[in-house]
Amino acid sequence: MSETAANIAIEQDLGPAVLDSHGAQLNLETPAERMAQQIRLAILEQSRRAHVGHIGSALSVADIIAVLYGGAMNLPSPDDHERDRLVLSKGHAALALFSALALVGWMPKEQLDTYCGDGSLLGVHPERDLSGIDFTTGSLGHGLSLGAGAALAARMQGSSRRVFVLMSDAECNEGSVWEAAMFAGHHRLGNLIAIIDLNGQQALGYTKDVVDLSPMHAHWQGFNWDVHEVDGHDISALAKTIDSLDTESGRPHMLIARTIFGKGVSYMQSLIKWHYMPMSEDQYAQAVAEVEAGS
């Protein structure tokens, strides 16, 4: 992993004050691992305060987001045109992204505390009006096209910046995903790195029962993508895989990240209802305890 400003910010900002407010017992090894835990705690805290759902989806990508904002992406500042771009194509996991922005110092904690409040910039889905958000998302199937265009533009401009697109597996039901997949594969957009959060769930059921897209890797390979399968909760493996990618030349990259919906909170894991359900107070307390214990 490269040592970026974001990485340094995490080292400096994830201090005892944040941890003390939750009474966390941290025994995690790396900044990205600590960041993932902090993202999960922020997801729980904000979801409880706002009494909203989409908790399981956000927890599912917490480790991926931690890797991206914990050093994998080149993020000198929100205003740096040459920064890497992120398209959160599964926009309903925005709370994980907002939490990361707060943790790297791009968003004041007070602003994170407005999540889903009246008059807030922070809704369930991210909007570009918020500093640090590159693209407004929330309509599934949109993000990969945006990312492919951003990657094509970077190449045309002779820039080394990369474009990350974080997608859901169910999102691949959308035909537009495959339009973008074809284009990126044909044009060998090597600076495009898509990550599918393969948690096997969607709003009303399990993906294998709704529209089974397994084996996912075969579809992307068929469209001339460089496909890697990785444990989406193995921070070290995620980081190493991203670090190993040739983004200067070659094909677009697809990381199929196998994840567990609701990861970190036992009673949410792999249960469909936590796509929408908010937590009760007791459930919140249990969730925090489990995340703090690093289970």
Binding site: H142, S145, A150, A151, A153, M156, Q157, S176
Partner: protein
Amino acid sequence: MRGSFIRTLVEIAREDPKVVLLTGDLGFTVVEPFAEEFPDRFYNVGVAEQNMVGLATGMAEAGYIPFVYSIVTFASLRTYEFVRNGPIAHQLPVRIVGIGGGFDYGTAGLTHYGLEDLGVMRIQPGITVVVPADQAQAAAALRSTYNLAGPVYYRIGKDDGRTLAGLDGSFRLGRTERVRAGKDLTLIAAGSMACDCAAAAEKLAELGIEAQVLVVSSLNPAPSKDLVEALTGVPVALTVEAHYVNGALGSLAAETIAENGLGCRLSRCGVTETPHGLVGGSAYMSGRFGLSADGVVQSALRALEEAAPAAR
């Protein structure tokens, strides 16, 4: 008109390296001048209009001014949500070029008839909607809007031949252009229907009816002030558009009259039924739906007749 549009785009691209052109595999014998002169700024993205707009949004975020090119229906309807959540939501300078409104693709059938684009685009506050009347105005409109900060939708007629006398390539955002004065009736034309309206006004004059002809080429921003001025004190107005009667120019005129308490009676000339199971040449199809000089005359006479009791 599309040839004029592309020629002008080539000229602009020579001056502005930010301009790129994407096509959804359409534009045979039209887009080649751009593709040949700027091969690094031209992409045929394939038959994938949604992706084309998504790509353009990503490119615009990086600083480009991408033009996306397709037939009206595919450019506006297939892509609509991508336009809404892309260039409109992000306020990025993507240019959507829809070719061939109304029945321009006459024999191609319903799938190729552009009858809703202006309506669906107009209701979005965040996009400029331009519908030029002839090739000179298409060139002028492109020159004056290509560099706007937000998105633009252009409906560009397929017919390259016609020129609207008196317009002289004039285009102003948020304004109308009056090409003929008259006190009995106001004909308000959307884009390329202006030529038919001008011809209709000549025929009406032979019948002793003096018709004013207004050209609306900027639907968004709406030329509200000019419309109020033109419709004040005029007994009857007839909107004419190669479009369904609801949603676009006719609706804009109705809104303007109602919201300003004008006493003008409005009739709307446009398509009122789904034109399925019927094809023919562009002129034939347009004529079948009253979108010709003769059709406009008939609609105008009917409108005057219907308004007569109120006018007395």
